[in-house]
Every structure is written in C-alpha cells, then in structure tokens.
C-alpha cells in the first residue's frame, strides 16, 4: 500500500500547533483537529510564562496565526474523531464537525453578533469569571476568528441573524461528517485540570475566596476579568495575603494521581511573582513539599522569587482551611517542619491544581487502538518517547505525561520527525503549490493608488462617516480610485478588488478596515492574484483603533479616519515591490557530538533521506550514555546504544568523524561550510558543506572535590555506583549513603542537574533489589522526581530507602572515624524535622554529582555565533516556544548541550532538532524575508554599531572597492530595523518601513 503524505493532528494546543507547523513546513498536508471552536489550548489562557515571565499570548498568537493561514494546514475546529481504520501509512478517519450555526466562509469575525446578543453566558475562557454572549469566540485573538452559537444558551431570538451584515448566521446548519485519508496521526490532546472540589478539605466551591490556580491565572491576566487587577471573588478587594497550596491533585494516591504534575511548583511561583508585580503589597506564601525547580534556569527563578520578590515558601502539608464568616478570609492550619501547628489567616487561597489526563483520551485510545498507562496518559517507552503502542500514531506533550511548555513544544517537533521518518517517501505528494500570475513590474511608474474603505457591517460604518472618507481619499495625491465596501474581506469583494486593479491600472492598494495583524496577509494574497507584488499594499486600521474605540464621538472618529487615510496614502506613494530572495539549500546536515542526542539526530535525518556528517570528539560514539546501564523502567541502555551505533555505521548516508573537532564555521542557513580537524595520529582537515547544524555536545559528570571523592575508594559517584552494580555479581552493600546536589545548586553550578534525583532513586532501588539487607539513605535538598518518576520515589520509600532532607546551609558532613584499626566513614546530617543531627556509618558514600557542560562549548559557541547561558549550556532562541532553535537560523541544539536531562528527553530534543532542521532541508530554496534591512554603501562607515545591535548576526562587514561596508545577509535578517534606527549615518534602512516612508507619514500632520 502506498503511504500518504498527510497527517491528522488531534488537539490544537501549543503541541498540536507546533507539530502541524513543523509538518506543514516540511511539505506534509496537515489536518489539525480540535474539539473546541478555536485552537490555542491551555496556553492561550495563561497570563505569563516562567521562567522568563513572557506574555503567553504575545508569543503564542503569531504561531496560531501562522497555523491558521498556512497553505498546508486545514483547521478542523469544533470537530471530534468518530472512527479510524487502516494502519501506518494510510489511515481512514471519520470526523464529526459539530455545527457552529455560523457559516465559516462568510463570518468575518467582526463580532457585531456577540455585541448584540441579549443572552449572557459565562465565559469559559475566563473560567467563568466573566460573561459573554450566547454567540461568541473563545478569546479575542481566536484562530480561526469565526463566531459560534452556544445552542445550550441561545434563546433563538434571531437578533444575530438580523445584525449580521455578512449573512453568516445559519440556524439550520447541521453537524457534518468528514472523511480523511492520512498517512499518520499525532495525538496532542493536552490535559484537563484537576477538579479541586474533589479535595473537599480545601473548601473549593464552598468558600468564595478559594480559587483554582487556573482561575487565578485569569485573574492575573491583563485580558482577564479584572483587566490585570488581582481581585478576590468575595468582595473585589486586592488580597494582601495569598496562600498557594501545592499538589492539589498531584502526588496524591487518594485521587489516583500518584504522579507529580511537573509544572505546579514553577507556575505557582510565577503566579506569586506576577501578583507581586501587580501590587507590591501582596504577600504570597507557597505551601509545598519540595521545590521542584528542575528545569533550565528554574532555580534562579525560585531564588529571585524568594529574595527579590519576597515570596515565602513553607514546606508542609496544609491540614485544613476554614472560612472566617465576616471577612470571608481563610484560616489555614499547617504544620511546618519543626512540628508546631500554626494557624494563619489569608485573604485568598489559590489551589495549585495538578494535571489530569484529558477526559477524551480513553475514548480516543479505544477508537485508535492505542494503549493508555494506568493514569490515562498515552503510553510511551523510554527510547520511543513520542510513539504510542500503535505504529503510525504518535503522541506529544502532556497527552503522554505531565510536562511544561518547552518540553511539550520539543515533543511536538519530535512527533513531527516521527511522522517524517515514517512518511519520508510520500513527502510533498499532497501539498499543492499555488500558482500566481506573473508579477507586473511597477517600478518607475507613478503611483496609481486604489483605496478600499470598509464599513465592516456597522462596525465602522456605524461610527465613521465612510462616504465622506471615500470622498476625502479621492482628493489625496495619486489616488485614482476610492470606494467603500460592506465587507472588504468577503470573497466577493476580493474579486471586486482584483477587477479594480485591472480596470484602473492600480499599482498600489490601500484597504482601510481592520487590523493588518489579522487581515494583511489576506489582502496581500488578493493583490498577488491580480499580478501585483504583495508588498504594494498598505492598511489603515479604522476599526480596531478608531471606530471601536471612539464609538461615541462620530465626528472625531471620522476626522481620525481621514488622518489615518492620509498617512496610509503618504506611505503608499513610497512603497516599492520587495523581493523575497530565494536561497539555495545544501541538503545535508552536520551533527556536532556523537552521544545519544547526536546519534539520534543523525539517524533521524538519515531516515528521512538526508546525508549527515556526525562529528565526535572521542574515539567512539556514545558519550554520557556509555556510563548509564539501566533505567527506572529497567531498559537495557547499553543494548540500545549498541544497536543505535550499529545503525549509524550501517547507514550509508551517515559519515562519522571520530577524534574530530570543529575548527571553523562559515556561511549561513542553507549554506554552511565547516572545517573539521581529524586527529588520527596526524591531523587531517576536512571541509564539509551542509545546510543545517545540530549542536549535540552533551554534558559531563562533575568531578567532585567534596566528601573525599578520589581520596577514599568507598566514595563514588552515582555513575560509578551504577557501573559497580552492573558488574558485581552478588555484592553486599551494607549502609549506602547518597548525597544529592553535589556540585549542583551551589555557587559554582547554581542550576539543578535534573537527572540526579531520578538516578538516586533508580540506584537505591537497584541496591535494594540486589541486596535487600542493604540500608540506603538518600540525603536530599528537594526530591525532584517530576512526572511519572514520582511513583518510583514512592516505590523506593516503600522498599525501605530512607530519605532525609538537608538544608543548603547545613550540608551533610563526612568524618573518618578510626575504630578497630580501620577508618570508618561517618556521615552526619542535620534533620530539620527532629531538629537533630543524624549520624550514619557509611559503607559506601555515593555522590549525586552534577552534570556540567563540556569546556569546548565556549569555543564552539563563538564559532557558531550562538550564545551560552551563565552556566555554560547553549542558550536557545526562546525558552518557551523555540526550545531547540537558535536565534541564528539553521542552527539547532539538543540533548545535554542544552541542559542536563534524562534519556527520553534527550531523544525527544534530538528528534525535535531534526524536525526543525527538516523545515529547511526539505526545501530546494529558502525564501528570505521581503522586509529586511538594506545598506547604502555610499553612506556606510563600517563602524560596526549595527552589528552590535543585531540579534541575528545578520550583518557582516565586507571589503569592497570603496572600502569596508556593512552587508545584510538576507537569509538571516528578520526585519526588526534595530540596525537602521541605530545607524548614525542613515546608511541602513529597513525595506517596507523606510526612512522616506516614515518621514512622509510624520509630515502628514495638518
């Protein structure tokens, strides 16, 4: 059976969107299915994101818009999967698209229907904290921006139909069934929040001022019910004292959620910090068991929260919450570590709810024939973290286990690689390339501007005197045609626009209507279809920024619209066609580092048909993984590694360079040239050409200076213990003491090494398994067994492993005690609960040593012109949404080069890096931006200031006949214009937003 080059992605949250974009960008046809009427998932509801405090909507919206208008993506919203048959390569899926009662093709998203709807329904997006109409969109920036009628709430009065000038309301619209043939399926179903009312002791639902953390997220949001004020529900006051109660529905066997939800410590801290930023008088307290800040730069965030913002962290379980009837304040009873019961009053309590598997998983699993784990997440394996139990069906994000946004995005890309490997032969078969008429060359011609002014139903026309604006536009220079339309964005008006372009010989087009952020691409497409360069277009935003915000002052709004018109015409007279330069792509990859991540990446590229050069500094492949022998799930890592290495060597497309290092890198995305030095007796240099670079330089185990390591044979690192356990046949271990965070979370390495808690739990279980009489003590600061690993932590405790917490300022001490002619190791640790030192005689002292970045990262970073973070790990382009990209195009990072992480996460990242790389490698040419900086060599003095402010390394100095001048690399320039604004000589300008245009706009003042 032939494979199909199409994919169905189920779930339109950030995972589904990322997977769809990667697939669509690498020439697969994508059907993105969401059961909600718009995509965006939970992330769209978030206010800010940790650890950077980025505004969630600001960073997510561009991705949603990109997915919404991607030629290779069909959005199937408000739809559910009904039935699937077939197998990997060709599935037949049946979907039910529930009726919106709104015609998707006709709805312009203008929102008059919602404005006029006389029914009020709770706004679910705002967690019921505010109200909207029975006809609504989930959130203002919704993609697709198509309204939907909530039939449950709808009275059926008919008003929306009357006011909808676009005629989009269809009360009689029926649900429809849809058949899809796809080669593969990705599950990105996300999660449900734990229902806090199930934990009755916290009084959610009974006490007004007990809210869930997701409600609190909306309370914080500038687009939330209180527009950014943090107000408590009972009386609208700002709560001074806020308590966050952690692990509500996490790490809790009584709710069947034995796992850790992985994100709550961080997001609660974030919410506390943001609340504090809103109002400094707020005093947040977080009640928790462990601070699980295991991710990249998380510990720094916690420290800032504690020290800069004054967020209080209290380690305990809360025993009860009572409401004070008069004030509706809440009294919390808790027992801190020292054992004294304390009662404290708070103005607001936030229940930090955990992550639950999506309710839909069960049904989906049945329909698709894939397995769930015992909690209801889709089941995956350590070495195949994005594969479900059924070939051809992949899973990403929280659908398989709790995880934060960057890991979700990573997995989404990784899943896309899974599909790519499966369907490589069918890539490109189902995407259509749109044909456009030849572009009319308008350069040198006097501007002939056509102006189309939109009524937007009554949205604009009801406030602004549109005919008078039309009349005014006709008087403006170079305007040869001006007219008004009821809806300029409707498909019939698009035809009118095209006709008018021909009829009047227009060579510049202005639409005065809504926001270019939503509609510019549509109109640009239209003029392109009429043979004009897409950049010969300008918009005047007379709705969102005029008629809607000056609804009661028609005269002033009309005047403003005329001014905006004049500004648009001023700019339009100066706009020129811009070219998107096509750059060739060398369809070959370079992977630096031959550890797990590097090998995985190389194989994934090769499986999709790309040649790869794999560079390893050591004499053999395998890296860090060579020292890991088993996993918590008892997988045989060495066997896996051997198989992978065999695959690498037997793959003709992969060239391995051992004992090699990168000497020099030049070029740019699509066209890199790298010099590699091979040290095989004598040095040999090789020049390699490739289109992308994947950095997978891995990490190393810290060599402790602490605790007599290296001076006493009984002191080992976890990796050494692991080796010993594997090699030794039946050893007696005696007393094994493990000390966590050796070399981590200190001044030298302030970060958490992420994998050591899991390692310690794994090895303690193994010791107990081999020698049940052994005593294992784990001395820890926080046990960070996030996600499903929490279960193993529990298993270890049940197996008799003793966990003892220590404080950073009171580290365990090691002493050698002489007795009976030999020296005993004695570990003493201050136990904060009993407030006493505990002394343990250790037969083995095992240090959970930090993972540190390799020294060479620094040199490599300089060569690649990419940044490292303070800890020496590579710094990705964006901590949340671009976890494996660099700001510099064409270079990607994965594995421990990025930060310490366990096996499955390294594999996911490696595959994610490949997915991102494939969006480039699958193309013959890369289209550069049209809006880019450009240099006037006559003015440039090559002072290099522009290079300093360019975040993309897109400018270099070039030697010309006239001397040195700056040169913009159109492949790298993103068109921000920082260089142009910085240049004292005005030698750099930004196409599309030129100095000339700006000057003319400024001059329009009358």
């Amino acid at each position: 059976m032939d494979k199909l080059g199409s994919v169905m992605v189920i779930g339109g949250g950030v995972a589904g969107v990322q997977a769809s974009l990667d697939l669509a960008d690498s020439n697969f046809k994508v059907y993105l299915v969401d059961s909600l009427p718009s995509i965006g998932g939970t992330m769209a509801q978030l206010d800010k994101t940790f650890p950077t405090n980025d505004c969630a909507m600001c960073i997510l919206a561009p991705k949603l818009v990109a997915a919404g208008r991607h030629q290779n993506i069909s959005l199937l919203t408000n739809a559910n999967l009904k039935h699937v048959e077939g197998k990997a390569g060709h599935f037949k899926a049946t979907l039910t698209r529930r009726s919106r009662r709104v015609d998707e093709d006709k709805c312009t998203g203008c929102g008059v229907c919602a404005q006029k709807c006389p029914v009020e329904a709770l706004d679910k997006f705002n967690e019921g904290l505010s109200k909207g109409g029975a006809v609504y969109v989930r959130y203002p920036q919704a993609v697709p921006l198509i309204y939907i009628i909530n039939k449950e709430k709808c009275l059926g009065c008919g008003i929306c139909e009357e006011v909808c000038k676009a005629g989009a309301i269809r009360y009689d619209q029926k649900d429809e069934e849809l058949q899809l043939d796809v080669g593969s399926i990705i599950l990105a179903t996300g999660f449900d929040e734990f229902d806090p009312s199930l934990k009755t002791e916290y009084g959610y639902g009974r006490h007004l001022n007990v809210v869930s953390s997701i409600e609190f997220e909306r309370l914080l949001s500038a687009s939330g019910p209180h527009a950014g004020l943090v107000l408590r529900p009972s009386d609208g006051d700002i709560p001074r004292k806020i308590a966050f109660i952690q692990c509500v529905g996490s790490r809790d066997a009584t709710c069947g959620t034995d796992y850790c939800s992985s994100v709550c410590c961080m997001y609660a801290t974030k919410e506390a910090v943001i609340a504090k930023e809103h109002m400094n008088q707020i005093e947040p307290t977080i009640f928790l068991m462990d601070v699980r800040a295991y991710g990249k730069d998380f510990d720094k965030y916690i420290e800032r929260a504690e020290n800069e913002y004054g967020v209080r962290f209290v380690r305990c379980r809360v025993s009860s919450i009572e409401e004070v009837p008069e004030t509706r304040n809440l009294k919390i009873k808790y027992e801190p570590e020292d054992g004294k019961l304390i009662q404290e009053e708070f103005n607001l309590v936030v229940l930090t709810v955990g992550i639950k598997p999506s309710e839909s998983n069960k049904e989906l699993a049945e329909k698709l024939g894939v397995e769930l784990d015992k909690f209801g997440f889709f089941k995956t394996q350590t070495f195949t973290p994005i594969s479900t139990s059924k070939p051809g069906i992949f899973v990403c994000g929280v659908a398989s286990s709790p995880k934060d946004i960057p890991e979700t995005v990573t997995q989404a890309s990784a899943a896309s690689t899974g599909v790519g490997e499966l369907l490589a032969s069918a890539r490109g078969t189902l995407v259509k390339k749109k044909e456009y008429p030849k572009e009319r060359d308008v350069r040198g011609q006097p501007p002939r501007i056509g102006v189309f002014i939109c009524h937007c139903g009554i949205n604009i026309g009801g406030v602004i005197d549109v005919p008078s604006v039309v009349e005014y536009a006709q008087t403006l220079p170079n305007v040869v045609h001006a007219c008004d339309n009821l809806y300029t964005c409707s498909s019939d008006t698009q035809e009118i626009v095209k006709n008018r372009i021909q009829e009047y010989g227009l060579n510049r087009v202005i639409v005065a209507s809504c926001s270019p952020r939503t509609h510019e691409p549509l109109f640009q497409e239209t003029i392109k279809e009429a043979g004009l360069n897409r950049y010969l277009f300008e918009m005047a935003n007379i709705r969102d920024q005029c008629s809607w915000v000056h609804m009661h002052d028609h005269k002033a709004a009309t005047e403003k619209a005329k001014d905006l018109m004049r500004m648009a015409v001023a700019k339009a007279r100066e706009i020129e066609p811009l070219e998107r330069v096509a750059l060739g792509v060398t369809r070959r990859g370079l992977v630096i580092g031959g550890g797990l991540a590097g090998i995985t990446a190389a194989l994934a590229l090769a499986k999709q048909g790309f040649e790869v050069d794999l560079i390893e500094k050591n004499k053999e492949l395998g890296g860090f993984l060579r020292k890991i022998h088993y996993t918590l799930e008892n997988d045989d890592t060495q066997e896996y590694l051997r198989a992978m290495i065999d695959n690498v060597y037997s793959n003709e497309l992969i060239k391995v360079f051992l004992n090699s290092k990168v000497e020099n890198v030049s070029g740019y995305v699509g066209n890199f040239k790298t010099t590699v030095t091979l040290d095989s007796g004598s040095e040999v240099k090789r020049e390699l050409e490739h289109g992308i670079i994947i950095v997978a330089t891995g990490g190393e185990e810290y060599h402790p200076n602490e605790y007599l390591y290296g001076k006493d044979h009984r002191v080992l690192t976890q990796l050494e213990l692991e080796n010993r356990i594997t090699v030794a046949a039946d050893e007696k271990f005696g007393n094994v003491v493990m000390i966590q965070c050796v070399g981590s979370r200190n001044d030298e390495h302030p970060y958490c090494s992420r994998m050591c808690c899991g390692e310690a739990v794994k090895n303690s279980l193994k010791v107990k398994e081999k020698d049940p009489e052994a005593n294992v003590y784990v001395l820890f600061r926080d046990i960070r067994t996030y996600g499903i690993m929490e279960e193993d932590y529990k298993r270890a405790r049940e197996a008799g492993v003793i966990f003892i917490r220590y404080e950073e300022e009171n580290k365990p001490k090691l002493a050698k005690i002489k007795s009976e002619g030999k020296e005993d190791l004695q570990v003493s640790v201050f136990e904060p609960i009993i407030q006493e030192d505990i002394i343990i005689d250790a037969d083995l002292l095992v240090l959970s040593a930090a993972v540190i970045p390799p020294q060479e990262n620094g040199t490599l970073a300089k060569m690649l012109k990419v940044p490292l973070n303070e800890d020496g790990f590579f710094l990705e382009a964006h901590a949340k949404l671009r976890p494996v990209d660099f700001a510099t195009e064409g270079i990607f990072v994965c594995g421990m080069a990025h930060s310490p992480k366990p096996i499955e996460e390294s594999i996911s990242q490696a595959k994610a890096a490949v997915s991102r790389a494939c969006t480039l490698l699958t193309k013959d040419t890369i289209e550069a931006e049209g809006i880019i900086a450009t240099v006037n060599p006559n003015r440039c003095t090559a002072c290099e200031l522009c290079m300093l402010v360019c975040a993309y390394n897109a400018i270099e100095i070039e030697e010309t006949k006239r001397g040195k001048v700056a040169k913009v690399n159109s492949a790298l320039c993103k068109g921000c214009g920082a260089c142009a604004a910085t240049c004292r000589c005005s030698a750099i300008d930004l196409k599309g937003f030129t100095d000339m245009q700006m000057n003319l706009i400024i001059n329009t003042l009358r």
Partner: protein, 315 residues
C-alpha cells in the same frame, strides 16, 4: 615639560628609524603666541619640530581617520581616548597606529586669554611656574595659569592617556573633580528656563559646522543634515533647525564623546557647545556607568543593553 617634549621626540625618532611607522603626527610651534599646529614628520631628523606644551590643543585623532600608512601619534588623555573610540569603531586600524601618550598639563583657552587683552594684540606669551606672562605693545600682564585653563581640562579625570603604546614623561596625578559640576546649575533650572537659555545660546549659531569638522567622532560620509531622501531636518539657521542640529549631534556622540573640548574651541560664535554634549557624557555615566574611550573592548552603551537597564521613563 621639556623632558616630555624630549621623550616624545625620542620616541618618534625611534619609531621612524625602526620603520615601525611611516609618519608621526604631532604638534609644532605655531606662528602666533600660544599656538601650535599639527605637524607631520616622516623623517627621523625632523623630530625636533615636535613640541609639547599647554597649547597643543588640536585633537590629532581626526588626522588618523582612514589613513593607510603606519602612523605614530602624539596624544593627550582626551586624544588617546577619542583614538580608542575610533579604534573600537574601526575607523582607525589598531595595527597601524602607535599612540605616543603624553601627560596633559591642561590646555590654555585662547578665548579666556583674549578676554583679558581687551582687544590688544598679543605678541609674546610665556608660561612658567604656573604663571602666564602676556606681552604686547606697551603692556605686560601676569596671571596665574589656572585662570586660563580650558573648562574641559578643569573637569578632566584622564589627563594621562588610558590607552597608549609608548608613554612619554611621567604620569601626572589625576584630579578629583566634579565631572559634571558645570552643568549642574543649568540642570536644576525649570525646563522653561533651560529652553530660554539654549534658545539664546544656540540662536547665535551660523551653521558653519566648525564643531563638526573639528570633532574626531564626526566622520560620517554624509552628515545627517546634508542627507537627502529623506531630508530629515533643514539646514537653515531657523532656531528649530539649529537646535535640532546640535541636539542630534549630541545624540550621535553619546557614549563616544570624550569631552576634548574641540567643538567649543572651534566655535567662531563662542557658543559653549560643551554644555550640550557634556550632558550626554553624564547620561552615559549615570545610566550605564560608562565613560568613553577607556577601553578598546568594552561595548559602548548604545551598542548593548542589560535586561535591568533603568526605565523609569517608560510606563
């Protein structure tokens, strides 16, 4: 001072004879009292021409811009600093320049001298023991030297060049002065009064661009006021155009200006141009703890950023 002069000559001679440089740029005696002019020495035997005194006021870094040959340059503190700025900005090739650093004793402000002469012609001037003796037809006046020191030198904290290849003479001690004291009074005034002050001051400007021509940092191929497409600002001496010319020039030297005072000295209308640019120095110091020209590596404030930069003016 004479030993500085001698060691400058020696250093110059050595550089020329060892062919380390093709040319020495330094100062020679001028034809008028209290004057020196820049001079170019390309033969070892001519180094005697080089002088070093309180009248070596031209900022020689201007002569190094886009020079192809290897040059040795005599530099005071401020000169060396502006050279450093130009090296950072790749206008001077570090490999092709040898900085002969010399300690500065403070420059004589000819305008201050002129003011004391009441229009009489100065025929001879000598400086000795911190005193200055002015002679002319029928008069001889003696003043303490400090009365004539340039304002820029009075607030200078870098009389010894912070960057040099050869140091001549002995380092002088740096004065602990209030760098920005000069503009404090003006800053304390209400906006309206400041406006009136600058209006009056800058209204004198005749747009001769002497300040620009003399400034070592004004090396743009086309100055913004001369640009077309678009013409941002007019070249007229309409007050608005003039104000903006000086404002933008100040902005352009922000984080680069070393307060050598050349602009003020060059102004034929006696506008205290330092008053405008001094503010940029202060902004850089206070906001970004940056002083221009002290390092060849440090990125100037407008070329970088910190996540926690001051932003009290942003809502």
């Amino acid at each position: 001072m004479h030993n500085v002069e001698n060691s400058i000559r020696e250093a110059a001679k050595k550089l020329l004879s060892e062919k380390k440089v093709d040319l020495i740029v330094g100062y020679e005696r001028g034809t008028l009292p209290l004057r020196t002019t820049p001079c170019f020495v390309d033969k070892a035997e001519d180094v005697r021409k080089l002088v070093w005194n309180e009248n070596c006021d031209a900022n020689l870094s201007k002569y190094l811009l886009s020079r192809k040959e290897n040059v040795g340059v005599v530099a005071k503190g401020c000169d060396a600093r502006s050279i450093a700025v130009c090296i950072f900005e790749k206008q001077i090739d570090k490999e092709k320049v040898v900085i002969i650093g010399a300690p500065c004793l403070g420059l004589i402000d000819k305008k201050k001298v002129k003011a004391k002469l009441d229009g009489r012609e100065l025929l001879e001037a000598t400086i000795e023991d911190e005193q200055i003796r002015l002679k002319g037809e029928g008069f001889e006046l003696v003043f303490p030297k400090k009365d004539f020191i340039c304002n820029s030198c009075l607030t200078c904290r870098h009389r010894n060049p912070p960057i040099y290849d050869v140091f001549t003479g002995e380092k002088v001690s740096e004065a602990e002065v209030d760098e920005f004291g000069e503009i404090a009074d003006l800053e304390a005034k209400p906006a309206k009064e400041r406006w009136e002050h600058f209006k009056e001051e800058l209204d004198k400007c005749i747009r001769c661009y002497a300040c620009r021509e003399v400034c070592p940092l004004c090396y743009c191929k086309t100055c913004f006021v001369d640009q077309t497409m678009p013409i941002w600002f007019g070249k007229t001496n309409d007050l608005s155009d003039t104000m903006i010319y000086h404002l933008v020039r100040a902005f352009h030297v922000a984080g680069r200006c070393v307060d050598c005072g050349a602009c003020s000295r060059a102004c034929p209308m006696n506008i205290n141009l330092r008053e405008v640019v001094k503010k940029t120095e202060k902004i850089m110091k206070e906001r970004y703890d940056y002083t221009a020209g002290l390092s060849l590596e440090k990125i100037p404030p407008l070329g970088e950023f910190k996540i926690d930069d001051s932003q009290e003016f942003i809502k």
